[in-house]
């Protein structure tokens, strides 16, 4: 692998970006998300259908936040998939949700990786029914 510039300190970039943004209480966000999921469950009554909708919404939101992300982080395009995973885990999640994740199970042959979140603002106060556990 060709050596490029010194490895970037993504954690520091993420922390600095989060420091500067306007923030709201995360519980408000959690409550709103919870209310939306609850309403969607009433609408569709089927977990898979609800998840499909949530994923669509998440996708649309993701497409919209990338501009602000690029502007605030000062990062350019990622040079490889490994970098993408680190940027997502340490800068992206930090800038918007105030949390970081661990990248695990990175598999460059399959273009796959896992993001492990120790805490997730979207899931606070949530108790899953047995069939969803």
């Amino acid at each position: 692998m060709a050596a490029s510039a010194a490895p970037k300190n993504y954690s520091r970039i993420g922390d600095n970006a989060f420091k500067d943004v306007e923030k709201i209480n995360s519980e408000l966000f959690t409550l709103t998300y919870g209310a939306i999921v609850t309403q969607l469950m009433k609408d569709y009554e089927d977990v898979e259908a609800v998840n499909t909708q949530l994923e669509k919404m998440g996708y649309n939101i993701g497409v919209r936040i990338i501009e602000e992300f690029l502007a605030r982080s000062g990062l350019g395009r990622c040079s490889d998939f490994r970098e993408t995973s680190e940027v997502l885990a340490k800068v992206g999640l930090k800038m918007f949700l105030g949390i970081t994740a661990q990248v695990q199970n990175f598999d460059s042959t399959k273009n796959e990786f896992s993001l492990i979140l120790d805490e997730n603002p979207l899931a606070e106060f949530v108790e899953l029914p047995e069939n969803c556990g």
Partner: protein, 174 residues
């Protein structure tokens, strides 16, 4: 810091998380079930309002009357959710309150003519204010003050992005 005053954890997220989630939800319902879009958004706002006020009153205790509660909505709740206070509050002291937000966040990005366009744009001002109506209703109803809340953004003295939220209490204020 306000968060610790009301006993909340001091965790924060980027304000655009809420904004983006809201607009995405409005679009979802505007496109999938336009006929009851506003009703569903109001229910979501109601749920958030009623749970928010639960957490506030734990620290603060009960409110003495409806005016105090509406003022609380105008200051604390509006600031926590919309990052600004309500700009103007009027009441007839007989159970009707009008909250004026001169620059309602969700209406910031739509054009001034949206209020009168026919057919209305997607999303429409009514759909964009439904959450706010539900929020106010949720706060008041869960504090034992049943009411109806409506939004007005097309009267002569209310131009987008301004919005008037009108509260009609179901019984006389204490």
């Amino acid at each position: 810091m306000q968060a610790t005053q009301s006993g909340w954890k001091a965790k924060e997220v980027h304000e655009s998380c809420f904004e983006l989630l809201h607009i995405e939800t409005v679009l979802h319902y505007a496109l999938t079930s336009p006929e009851d879009c506003s009703a569903k958004l109001e229910k979501i706002g109601y749920s958030v309002g009623s749970r928010l006020v639960e957490r506030y009153t734990r620290e603060r205790g009960r409110f003495s009357d409806s005016l105090e509660m509406v003022k609380f909505i105008c200051k604390e709740i509006w600031t926590d959710v919309f990052k600004k206070q309500v700009d103007n509050l009027k009441t007839n002291h007989k159970g009707i309150f009008v909250l004026n937000d001169a620059k309602y966040r969700a209406l910031n990005k739509i054009s001034a003519s949206s209020a009168t366009q026919s057919p209305p744009p997607v999303p429409s001002p009514a759909q964009l204010t439904a959450f706010g109506c539900g929020l106010i209703k949720g706060v008041l109803c869960s504090m034992g003050m049943p009411c109806e809340v409506s939004a007005d953004f097309s009267s002569p003295n209310v131009q987008l992005p301004a919005c008037n939220f009108t509260i009609k209490m179901e019984k006389d204020p204490r």
